[in-house]
Amino acid sequence: MLYSFLLLVAAVNFEDKIAPVLIDRCVPCHNSVKAMGSVRLTTSIAVSRVVTPGEPEKSALYTSIESGKMPPNDPKLTKDQREAIREWIKEGAKWPPGIALEGTRLPAVERAFVSRLRDKIAANKASPASNMALIPEGDFVMGSMRRKDEQPPHKVHIDSFYMDKYETTWDQYRLFMFAKEEGVDAVSRPTRPYVEMSFGMGIEGFPAISMTQHAANKYAEWLSQKTGQFYRLPTEAEWEYACRAGTTTAYSFGDDVKQLVNYAYYAANSGGKYQKVGSKLPNPWGMYDMHGNVMEWTLDQYSTDFYAHSPAANPWNQAAKPYPHAVRGGSWQDAAEMLTCSARVASDPSWKEQDPQLPKSVWYETDAQGLGFRLVRPLKLPSAEEMYKYWNSGVEKDN
C-alpha cells in the first residue's frame, strides 16, 4: 500500500490532496449507505463512474465541482482543491489499490488523529482505573513442551504494565458499540449487528464476545480517547506473563486439573455458556478468568516459528496479514488442555462464516462465541507511531 502511494508522489498525491477532500466534502453523502444520486466516491470502481481519466472536462466529478453544483453546502471547494482534483484526473485519476474511503480512516488521517490523541494522553496526569492490576517488570519462560506450537520454551523480559483484572464486559463494550459520536475525531465504531450478539448468554456483568481483533483494537482506541489513558490489547508474551503470574506450571495454580473448576469456566462446568466475569478465584497477581470463560485476543500474529527467533525483551510478532492472530486462555467451550497458560489458538476466517452478507462485517466474528478480550496499559507511554500500529493491525481488511 505504501509503495503505491510512493509511486504517486511525483504527481498529485492522492492521500494528501485528493482523499481528504473527498472524505471531508463528498463521502458524507456519496457513501455505501446514502449513495446520493446513486454516486459513491469511495472505491476506484465507484469513482470511475464519474471520472474519465485524463479528461477532467468530461468528468462529472470535476465539472460538478467546478460549476459550484457540488458540494451543495458551503463552503465551496477552494481553488487549490479544485485544481488538485483537475490535475489528478488529468494524470489518469490513479487510485491506490485496495483503498476504500469509508469504514476506516486513511493511514495519514489516522496517524494525525493518533498524534493529537497522544498529546492529550501525555498531558493527562490522572492515575489508571482501579479495575486494573499492576503487573511487575520481570523475566519468565514463555511457551512449554506441551504442544508443538508452544516450543521452544524461551526466556522473555517484560516491562511493567497495568492489565484489566477482568475480561471486558458487555456493559463496557456496548457503550462503544452504540456510541453516537460523529465527525473527524470519532473513532470508527461497529456497524449495528443483525443478530443478538450475546446469543442469549447474558449482558450485565458478562464478557463481551464475537468481536474481531479490529473491533477490539478500535475499542481500545475509543476508550483511550474517552479516558485520556492509553489502552491497547496485550501482546501474546504479556498475556502469558500475566497469566502465569510468576508460576511455571500448566495453570497458574499448579498442574492439578482437578482444581481447574475453582479458577475457570470451561466445557466441563460452564453449562454451555459463558459466565459472569470475576466469579472464580483469581491468579496470584489478582487476574480473573485468565483460564477459560472467554478466550482473549492478543496483538500478535499467530506463528509457529516466532518463538524460535523471538526478541528477548517485550516481543511482539506484528501482523503482516489478517489471519491468523493469536488468541489465549481457552473458553467456556474448551477442554481443560486448551486453558493452560501457554496454549495458543489461531484465529480463522471460519469464525465469521455465518455472516450472510457480503462484504462480511469487519466487526463481528459471529461464529466465535467464546472469544473476548481484556486491555493493558503500559507504564511508559508509546510514541504516536507505536500507538498507530497497536490500534491498526491490518485485520480491518480481511474481505
Binding site: A35, G37, T43, I45, A46, E196, G272, Q354, L358, N399
Partner: protein, 446 residues
C-alpha cells in the same frame, strides 16, 4: 473452496427437461463419488457428492445488496462449475460494489459481461432472458412474487430469499408459482435458512420424534436493535421520486418489506410452523405499534402475536426493534414431557424426561442451502420449498393483520385477504403516498 476442474464439457447441459441426462449424471456420480468439499469436511458434515458434471451452471443475481452478494458467492462455491453471468439491480453502484466483493472471493467464476448488467425495475426480466440457468432473488420482498413467477415461467431454477411476499395476493401468487415449479421440474429453494442448519434440524428431529412429548406451547422472541432506520426527510435529494426514495429505504415501508414482523421475525414464524409440521393455525390475535418516530416510513417497531393451534396449543411470537432494550432471539418450546430451548445458549437444549443437547459442529447454513440446491439440480431431483415458504410468510403476515386491525384473524381470512399492499403498477419516477401507520380498531380487516 471447491476445486475447479478444467476440461471440455461432458455434454450439453440443459435445464428442461433434466431427466434426459439423469442416467449420464448418475454414472458421473459414481465415478466422482469420493470427490468432496474441504469445507464440508472441516465443518464436520457428511461429504457432498459434487462436481459430477463439468458443464457450467450460469447464475444470475437479482438484487445486489449485501445478502444477494453473499448468496451469489455461496452459489458459486456450491458447485465446481457454477458461475455468475448476469446481475440486476436498480443502481449501478450497487452492482459495482457487489462485483468488487465477489471478484475477491470467487475470482474467475465471476463472468459478468457488461452487457449482462441490467439496471431498472424491469432488469430482472432482462436477466432471465440473458440465458442464465439459476436465478437468485434477493431484492426487497415486495417484488418477489412477480420476479419468482417470471423465473419459473421461463424455466429457471430459483434461490428465493425470505420473505416471499408482502401481502396475501403475493402469497397466493407464489403458491401457484410453486406448483408450476414442480410441473416444470425446476428447483425452488427458499432462504428460510434455519431449515438448512444442521443443529436446528437435529433439534426439530428430536422434537418430532417425541423428545418433549406433545407440544403445548411455543414462545419465540426476535428482539433486536433497529435494522435499517429511516433517514430524516432532509436527506432526500431534490427531485428524487417517492418510488426511488422508498425503494432506497425499503425496510421502512410496508409495501416493500411487509413490516418488521414479516421481514425479520418471519424466521421465528417459520420455526413455529416447523414445530407444527407446517400445518396452519386456527387463528391469532396480536398487538403492535411504533415508538420510534417513523420519519415518513410506516412500519411498526414491535409486535406480539398469539397463535391458536388445534388442541388449544398456543404459540406466541414477540418481536421488537428498539435500542437499549432486552435483546433476544430464542425459542422456548414446551411439551407434555419436557421443554426445548433454542437460542439461550449457543447450542439448543432439551430438558425433562429426556436430556439432550446438540453436540457436534455447526455448519454454515447459508452455504448448505446452496450446496443442497445445486446438488438437487445436478441430480435432476430439484428441491421445492415453495409451498412451505409461502405458508411461513403468511403465518407472520396474519400476525401483522391482527396487529394492524386489532381483530382476531383466522388462517382462512389471512389466506383470502383482499388487501393489496404492493402496488399493481410501479413507475420509478412515480409518486407513492405513504399510508399512515395502522391503527388497531380503526383499520379494517380486508
Amino acid at each position: 473452496m471447491p476445486v475447479i476442474l478444467s476440461g471440455p464439457a461432458l455434454y450439453e447441459f440443459s435445464f428442461q427437461p433434466l431427466t434426459h441426462y439423469t442416467n449420464k449424471m448418475e454414472q458421473d456420480n459414481r465415478r466422482n463419488f469420493l470427490k468432496t468439499t474441504g469445507a464440508a469436511i472441516a465443518a464436520g458434515f457428511p461429504s457432498l457428492i459434487r462436481g459430477q458434471a463439468t458443464n457450467a451452471i450460469k447464475v444470475g443475481l437479482v438484487g445486489c445488496g449485501g445478502r444477494g452478494t453473499g448468496a451469489a458467492s455461496q452459489a458459486m462455491k456450491a458447485d465446481d462449475y457454477a458461475e455468475l453471468t448476469a446481475v440486476a439491480d436498480v443502481y449501478q453502484d450497487r452492482v459495482d460494489t457487489c462485483l468488487e466483493s465477489l471478484g475477491k472471493i470467487n475470482g474467475a467464476k465471476v463472468k459478468v459481461d457488461p452487457k449482462n448488467v441490467f439496471l431498472g425495475l424491469d432488469a430482472y426480466q432482462k436477466l432471465i432472458d440473458s440465458g442464465v440457468d439459476v436465478v437468485i432473488l434477493a431484492t426487497p420482498p415486495g417484488f418477489r412474487p412477480a420476479h419468482l413467477r417470471a423465473c419459473i415461467e421461463a424455466g429457471k431454477h430459483v434461490f428465493c430469499e425470505k420473505p416471499i411476499a408482502v401481502d396475501a395476493f403475493g402469497v397466493r401468487d407464489v403458491l401457484e408459482t410453486a406448483k408450476l415449479a414442480k410441473q416444470k421440474n425446476v428447483a425452488l429453494v427458499s432462504g428460510f435458512c434455519w431449515r438448512y442448519s444442521n443443529y436446528i434440524v437435529a433439534t426439530f428431529d428430536q422434537i418430532q420424534s417425541g423428545a418433549i412429548g406433545d407440544i403445548v406451547a411455543y414462545y419465540a422472541t426476535y428482539y433486536t436493535s433497529p435494522v435499517k432506520p429511516m433517514p430524516p426527510a432532509k436527506d432526500r435529494p431534490a427531485g428524487m421520486s417517492d418510488v426511488e426514495w422508498q425503494i432506497k429505504n425499503w425496510y421502512n415501508f410496508q409495501w416493500l418489506c411487509g413490516d418488521s414482523l414479516v421481514e425479520q421475525a418471519v424466521h421465528s414464524a417459520d420455526k413455529i410452523a416447523w414445530s407444527q409440521n407446517d400445518k396452519p393455525p386456527i387463528s391469532c390475535v396480536a398487538v403492535g405499534g411504533r415508538q420510534i418516530p417513523a420519519e415518513d416510513g410506516n412500519i411498526y417497531d414491535h409486535f406480539e402475536v398469539n397463535y391458536l393451534y388445534p388442541n388449544n396449543v398456543r404459540a406466541v411470537l414477540g418481536c421488537r426493534q428498539i435500542e437499549n432494550c432486552w435483546n433476544e432471539n430464542a425459542d422456548y418450546i414446551l411439551g407434555t414431557k419436557g421443554a426445548c430451548t433454542i437460542g439461550r445458549s449457543p447450542m439448543p437444549k432439551i430438558t425433562g424426561a429426556k436430556e439432550w443437547t446438540f453436540e457436534g459442529q455447526k455448519y454454515d447454513m447459508y452455504q448448505y442451502e446452496h450446496d443442497m440446491m445445486f446438488q438437487s439440480i445436478r441430480k435432476g431431483q430439484p428441491i421445492n420449498n415453495g409451498e412451505r415458504m409461502a405458508t411461513s410468510t403468511l403465518l407472520a403476515m396474519m400476525g401483522r393483520m391482527a396487529a394492524y386491525t386489532g381483530r382476531e384473524v383466522t388462517w382462512d381470512q389471512a389466506l383470502n385477504s383482499q388487501e393489496r399492499i404492493f402496488p399493481e403498477k410501479l413507475d420509478w419516477n412515480g409518486s407513492m403516498p405513504v399510508a399512515p401507520l395502522p391503527r388497531p380498531g380503526v383499520n379494517k380487516l380486508i
